[in-house]
Structure formats: C-alpha cells, structure tokens
Symmetry: C2
Subunit: 100 residues, 2 copies
C-alpha cells in the first residue's frame, strides 16, 4: 500500500536554500529503495521552512530507506542547519480520483 | 511551477469512509484542470481524518479547479460530513532528488 510522508523542516535563518540543495540533490538510492515521488519546495509565507511530499511503495520501504548510506549522508549534512521545528503527517494511500 | 496542496480533513465520527468515497470517486475534470497527482488516505493514529496530497501544474490551476462543477459537487457532498477540523500546508515545488 502506498505510503505518504509529508513534512515541514524548519531551517536555521538564512540556511533554507542550503537545506533545499541537500534535499534535492540527485539520489538514485531512493528509487531503488521504493520511493515513488519526492517533491521538495518552499512557500513565501514561511521563508525559513522547507516542505516535502514523499510517496513510497510501503511504510517499510520508507523506514528501511533511513538506514541507507546515501540517506544518512543527507541527514548528516542537513542536521546542522535544521532549526528543530518540524511538522507534517503520514498516511496510507487508499485511492485517487485520477485513477479507477 | 508545480504546486502542492497537502491537507487533513476531519470527518464527523463514523463518516470517514463516506468522505473517502467522495474524495476518491473518479473525476476526469481534475486532470483536465492540471491536476498531476491526488492521493487520498487514512491513518490508524487519526481514525476520523482523511489525508490528501495534491500536485498541480500551478497554483492557478488548483485555484481555478475549485470552480468546476465536478469539484463543487464533491465539496457539496462532503460538507455535511466534515467536522470542521482542517490542517495542512501549500508550497511551490522547487525540485526532487529523483530527477536531475
């Protein structure tokens, strides 16, 4: 069952674009681990926040991906520029009006 | 620029699955209006909540879609079974680690 992980990551003031760069750097390990979509963005309303929508083949695929060296490297690079403010939610996809 | 609208909709207790049915019913007008993805789901942690991730070709495409008769029909059907509790956020997609 497709799993969605949707979140906000607060950046240290002035470091949002650096955080964006870490999160959008090409990472072929994600697809191999079952990542179906990983969209990263921004909003003028919250200038120190990075927004992420992730879709995964399963919750297990997402959980397992966190142990990958490539993902651990991104986490290590991002940690010093995270403010410690997080938001978001996780859910299991049941359907879509775009598909029968 | 791809626009993301991510949200939670509280359902009147006992009406979550009815709300799910309204939101996942096949709706060809959405794609024509510029909807790229529309994933609807649930979480055991919040049994009276429906979760939605939408991706659109632009914020304008999303805004315009709200006036479509097909979308107005879904809103009208859902309104009586919404609890009035909402969450979520909107952002502009900048990139993805899955793509160069």
């Amino acid at each position: 069952m497709t799993f969605a992980n949707v979140g906000t990551l607060g950046a240290v003031p002035g470091k949002r674009d650096e955080l964006l760069a870490h999160l959008t750097a090409r990472n072929t390990a994600l697809q191999q681990a079952g990542c179906l979509a990983y969209e990263v963005g921004v909003s003028d309303d919250e200038p120190d926040t990075v927004f992420v929508v992730e879709l995964w083949e399963s919750a297990d695929a997402h959980q397992s991906s966190l142990a990958l060296p490539e993902v651990q490297a991104v986490i290590a690079a991002a940690r010093p520029i995270l403010s410690g403010t997080y938001g978001g939610f996780r859910f299991h996809v049941v359907g879509s009006p775009l598909k029968d």
